[in-house]
């Protein structure tokens, strides 16, 4: 366990070092996110007004919008982190070094991703507060009630990230597809099938639904049933296991073809 602690620790350190070293990038990224959000938000408001919806009724959809946006960024970050980091490390020539650890590469990537997630969730929450401050719409953020389902559900996204990362090792042209995949992920947190069963089969979808249920319905994580938790955990285990399987198989193929070195 201690070895994962050190792995997690250096991963967080590296992320902060790089955020600091790329100050300009970090700040411009944050500003971009903020501007993007405000544009979408003002756009919705303008749309609402033109349809004659009073701004009081906008409240609910705004909250939904904020949460959806938040979930989407969290998801993108963990998904992108694994898939892009594999490509990035292959390009830099450090992937072989990572592969020589006694800790399995997929485990390294997952731990690194968790570190990244932690940092990004912290940054997103700060950003969220800035957004709420500037729009003067305060939604009650039940951090614990959101973080618990996210933590459970994120493993399904990590699984998908592992699949994409593994494929990226073998098929070098996959990078452009990854960009597209990000936008399909929006669907996972915005489209909810009526049937519990179908929703439970789609990665992260059920979790996203429950987070809306918590935030918009004024509920808490204790209001979710055992079945809810069962579905969320089952869904995550399923996709994560497939992710690990596919990734490790891809690494094996890459090692057979001698592809780990130069990308």
């Amino acid at each position: 366990m201690k070895k994962f602690y050190y792995l997690f620790k250096v991963s967080v350190e590296k992320i902060f070092k790089e955020l600091k070293r790329y100050k300009f990038n970090t700040i411009s990224d944050l500003i971009l996110f903020y501007v993007l959000f405000m544009a979408m938000f003002l756009g919705i408001q303008g749309f609402g007004t033109s349809l004659g919806v009073s701004s009081a009724d906008m409240g609910d959809s705004l909250e939904g919008f904020i949460i959806g946006y938040f979930l989407w960024t969290v998801m993108i970050m963990s998904f992108v982190d694994i898939a892009y980091n594999v490509i990035d490390d292959a390009n830099k020539g450090t992937l072989e070094q990572l592969n020589m650890s006694n800790i399995n590469l997929s485990q390294i990537l997952v731990v690194r991703s968790m570190a990244n997630l932690l940092v990004n969730v912290l940054l997103s929450i700060v950003l969220l507060f800035i957004i709420m401050y500037t729009t003067n719409k305060w939604i009650e953020l039940k951090i614990l009630s959101i973080v618990i389902p996210i933590f459970i559900g994120i493993f399904s996204i990590l699984g998908i990230g592992l699949i994409c990362g593994g494929l990226a090792l073998i098929f070098k042209k996959i990078q452009s597809l990854l960009n597209l995949a990000q936008f399909f992920l929006i669907g996972l947190v915005t489209v909810f099938p009526k049937s519990k069963f179908i929703s439970g089969l789609i990665p992260f979808n059920y979790v996203a639904g429950k987070i809306f249920f918590i935030v918009l319905g004024g509920n808490s994580f204790v209001d979710l049933s055992v079945l809810d938790y069962g579905i969320m955990i089952g869904n995550s285990i399923f996709y994560f296991a497939i992710g690990l399987l596919v990734f490790n198989q891809c690494v094996k193929i890459a090692k057979k073809k001698g592809l780990l070195g130069q990308y």
Partner: protein, 307 residues
């Protein structure tokens, strides 16, 4: 004790046979050089040992155990890639790669300082690796293998592209690492000085096959020929050169054919060459005996293979 055992290793890339049924062993605590012309399979062999390439055939054992289960015993620096994070400092890199292997804590922090000091990198410890010279980057990469504290270190062309100063520096470092830290080192190189000065054993590859494998000392003895250097007053014409080659000695033409080097096994043989030169009216400026060196041995072995 055997640190590395390679048995019948074979690797194809598609139709290209990169490594062809090679076997060799390396004793614990030795420095072994793996030599061979470009494309002879050195990198493929090294990466197979590291379990970064899965061979088509053969076994690799590390201290008697399958290499797939031996990651904790091996670290490596590869050629042609960065090995390090360029946006991190030497200190951050060492800490990061230790962390990647699940190592950390006060002992590692201490070791990092000791290593940076040992490699004269202390005043560069907070400079991004990107901004260091090639020699320093290579030193940081080697320090990285040491912070991982593995018994075996593999180095693919560790002195490639270094200036004389950095070359000497790294050469001394490697010799010191092997003797004072009791590490087993396998390095590939095209630099025969490095081999002659620090390697205990060599494995010579050609076209994916082992063509020689012995201790450097033995090879030096075995090939103990006398190398003479004959300096001419002017450069040889093409026909003169061919005429000289016809006497069937190992002749090397150097310096725009104003210098001939020849390996002879009997001192009388030198007269054959002098006679030939006299017959062709070629003026000799100077004749002297050269020290035996590994470069010549290497050329002998690889040329023999070609002929």
């Amino acid at each position: 004790m055997k640190a590395i055992e390679v048995e019948n290793l074979t690797k194809y890339y598609g139709k290209v046979k990169a490594v062809d049924n090679i076997s060799f062993e390396i004793e614990k605590g030795k420095i072994c050089g793996i030599l061979g012309p470009n494309g002879s399979g050195k990198t493929t062999t090294i990466k197979s040992i590291c379990n970064l390439i899965i061979p088509d055939k053969g076994n690799i054992k590390i201290f008697g155990k399958d290499n797939k289960k031996s990651a904790e015993h091996i670290s490596a620096v590869f050629e042609g890639t960065r090995n390090l994070y360029w946006r991190l400092t030497p200190k951050e890199n060492l800490r990061y790669f230790a962390g990647i292997r699940g190592l950390g804590g006060r002992k590692i922090e201490n070791n990092i300082d000791i290593l940076l000091d040992k490699f004269n990198l202390t005043d560069k410890k907070d400079v991004m690796v990107n901004n260091l010279s090639r020699g320093m980057q290579q030193k940081v990469a080697i320090a990285m293998t040491l912070i991982c504290d593995t018994e075996i270190i593999l180095l693919d062309e560790p002195t490639l592209g270094l200036d004389v100063q950095s070359f000497m520096n790294i050469k001394d470092m490697l010799a010191d690492i092997a003797s004072s830290m009791n590490k087993t080192i396998l390095l590939s190189t095209h630099d025969m000085n490095l081999v002659q000065d620090i390697c205990d054993d060599v494995v010579i590859l050609n076209k994916g096959k082992v063509i020689a494998q012995d201790s450097v000392e033995k090879l030096m003895d075995m090939f103990e020929s006398m190398t003479y250097e004959i300096i001419l007053a002017e450069s040889l014409s093409k026909s003169d050169k061919e005429c000289l080659l016809s006497i069937d000695y190992d002749l090397y033409f150097i310096n725009n054919k104003t210098k001939i080097e020849v390996d002879i096994f009997d001192i009388k043989e030198i007269y054959d060459i002098i006679d030939k030169l006299k017959e062709k009216n070629i003026l000799i400026k100077e004749i002297k005996q050269k020290d035996n060196n590994f470069e010549r041995i290497y050329l002998n072995i690889t040329n023999e293979e070609v002929n």
